[in-house]
């Protein structure tokens, strides 16, 4: 209940701020102060983009909460955005946890937090990596999944990133726009070798895993 109340409170705060900026914009136009009007317009747009991104990030993680009925899914796709055509059949229940620029290290940690949603014994994980990306770092787009566990943020030293995750447009403007515009969703992935650590993790839990790579230097989108 408290979580819902906080959400409503934050939502109201944001709406009030947007309303104030719209009033400034209207006043600016009426008073022919175009600098003021321009500032208000940009700030309003920025706030709305930020709000939409945060909402998109949070809604992806909401299926993991206790109240959700979504369980026993067939395919869990983690990593970079890509075309889903060859990754799952139409009959499959698929959950996609993707964000542009997600490192393989972050994908592994997200897998550790989310694999429980898979159908036991027959669920499949598809890891999608950017060709040549072997990073282990985290981004603020990983936070909604990592903070599902009350102790992970501290264990991974992500307290700063957790604060930044409320303002994605400020701290990761390019990735925020890429995420909102679903950049990369048509990239065709090609099968590659599964990282050893993830393979072992999945084998121990009776989960099938595939690793796919997307090449951002090839123009196969559209």
């Amino acid at each position: 209940m408290s979580r819902i109340l906080i959400k409503i409170k934050n939502h109201k705060k944001k709406l009030c701020l947007i309303l104030v900026l719209i009033i400034i914009l209207v006043c600016g136009i009426v008073m022919t102060n175009y600098y003021l009007a321009g500032f208000a317009l940009i700030a309003t747009l920025g706030l709305m983009i930020n709000f939409l991104t945060v909402k998109k990030m949070q809604s992806g993680a909401s299926v993991f909460y206790a109240g959700s009925k979504i369980r026993n899914i067939d395919t869990l796709i983690i990593g970079e955005p890509c075309s889903l055509d060859e990754l799952a059949s139409d009959k499959d229940i698929v959950l996609q946890i993707t964000a542009p620029g997600r490192s393989p290290g972050a994908s592994y940690e997200i897998l550790r937090h989310t694999f429980g949603i898979l159908d036991e014994g027959c669920g499949e994980v598809v890891l999608v990596v950017k060709k040549g990306n072997a990073e282990t770092g985290f981004s603020l787009f990983d936070i909604p999944y990592l903070q599902l566990s009350p102790i992970s943020v501290k264990r991974l030293g992500l307290e700063g990133l957790q604060k930044k995750s409320k303002l994605p447009l400020v701290f990761a403007p390019i990735r925020t726009m890429q995420m909102l515009l679903s950049v990369g969703k048509n990239k065709k992935p090609r099968e590659t070798v599964v990282p050893q650590e993830m393979l072992k993790f999945c084998q121990e839990r009776n989960i099938t895993i595939r690793c796919m790579a997307v090449d951002w230097n090839r123009s196969e989108e559209g």
């Binding site: 993991f64 159908d119 566990s149 009350p150 102790i151 264990r155």
Partner: protein, 270 residues
């Protein structure tokens, strides 16, 4: 009702006055087993309520069973060396010892150290029994190889998640199995189940009572909670009926392996 536990978790009352009333209903209904945890925020009020009600109804300490847990943040904070927290909770609960102490979530990074501390605490008598919540056979096998098996296992279990593998393992190894969320918060698939409706009619009980009886008849101790005293009294009336094999099978057939709480989220790398 020696097989029933009264839980004071997420859905239970939190203030002393409210909790005292429901604990009163539970104690007068014959319940003597109580479950809490630091994250529920009820340890102190439960201790106070049990102290008062035990005096009023003449219930001795030997007749009571009080168990609590160690939460992941406590395991992390002390890297498993959790004795200090146990001493604090004993004061909160106004007890000299716990009947059982359980690891709430088997967080891999801190599990071994915490379990070693649990064994020591049991050996010095601060906890009579020790156990683990939210485990699977995989973790139990590992525990068996490393040190020893728990005496108690507490899992999310209900007709939508029958946990056959865990039950079989625990039965074979004489481990007590407790079920939290035993009614799955009366999920529509339980509330509207034709099979359960028919069994309820056959036994003259309601669906909640039938499901709790199903737990007991399959060798599991259900931990239920309610904010309504009338509901608690209702659920205490399970001694006057039992289920036949066919009814048990019909209820078990509702299994959909549905989990409300995903272990991997709260306990990454589980």
């Amino acid at each position: 009702m020696k097989e029933l536990y009264f839980g004071t978790g997420a859905s239970s009352c939190k203030t002393y006055e409210d909790l005292r009333q429901v604990i009163d209903a539970a104690v007068t209904g014959g319940i003597r087993r109580f479950d809490t945890a630091p994250s529920y925020g009820t340890e102190e009020v439960l201790g106070k309520a049990l102290y008062e009600l035990s005096q009023r109804y003449g219930v001795s300490r030997d007749d009571l069973w009080v168990q609590t847990k160690i939460d992941p943040w406590q395991m992390q904070e002390k890297n498993g060396d959790i004795r200090e927290y146990v001493e604090i909770v004993l004061k909160k609960l106004r007890l000299d010892y716990l009947n059982a102490l359980l690891i709430h979530w088997p967080v891999p990074e801190y599990f071994d150290n915490t379990w070693d501390a649990f064994i020591q605490l049991r050996d010095v008598g601060l906890a009579k029994e020790i156990g683990v919540c939210n485990v699977r056979v995989r973790q139990l096998n590992r525990m068996q190889k490393r040190t020893e098996l728990p005496q108690i296992v507490q899992i999310e279990r209900n007709p939508l998640r029958t946990c056959e593998g865990e039950l079989e393992f625990c039965r074979d190894n004489h481990i007590e199995v407790q079920a939290y969320s035993p009614l799955c918060k009366m999920d529509d698939r339980i509330k509207n189940s034709e099979a359960l409706k028919v069994i309820a009619e056959q036994t003259g009980k309601n669906i909640g009572q039938v499901v709790l009886r199903w737990h007991i008849d399959t060798g599991v101790y259900p931990i239920f909670t309610s904010k309504k005293c009338s509901r608690i009294r209702e659920y205490c009336e399970l001694d006057d009926f039992s289920l036949i094999e066919e009814q048990i099978s019909q209820i078990s057939a509702l299994n959909a392996n549905y989990k409300m709480y995903l272990e991997s989220c709260i306990c990454p790398g589980f």
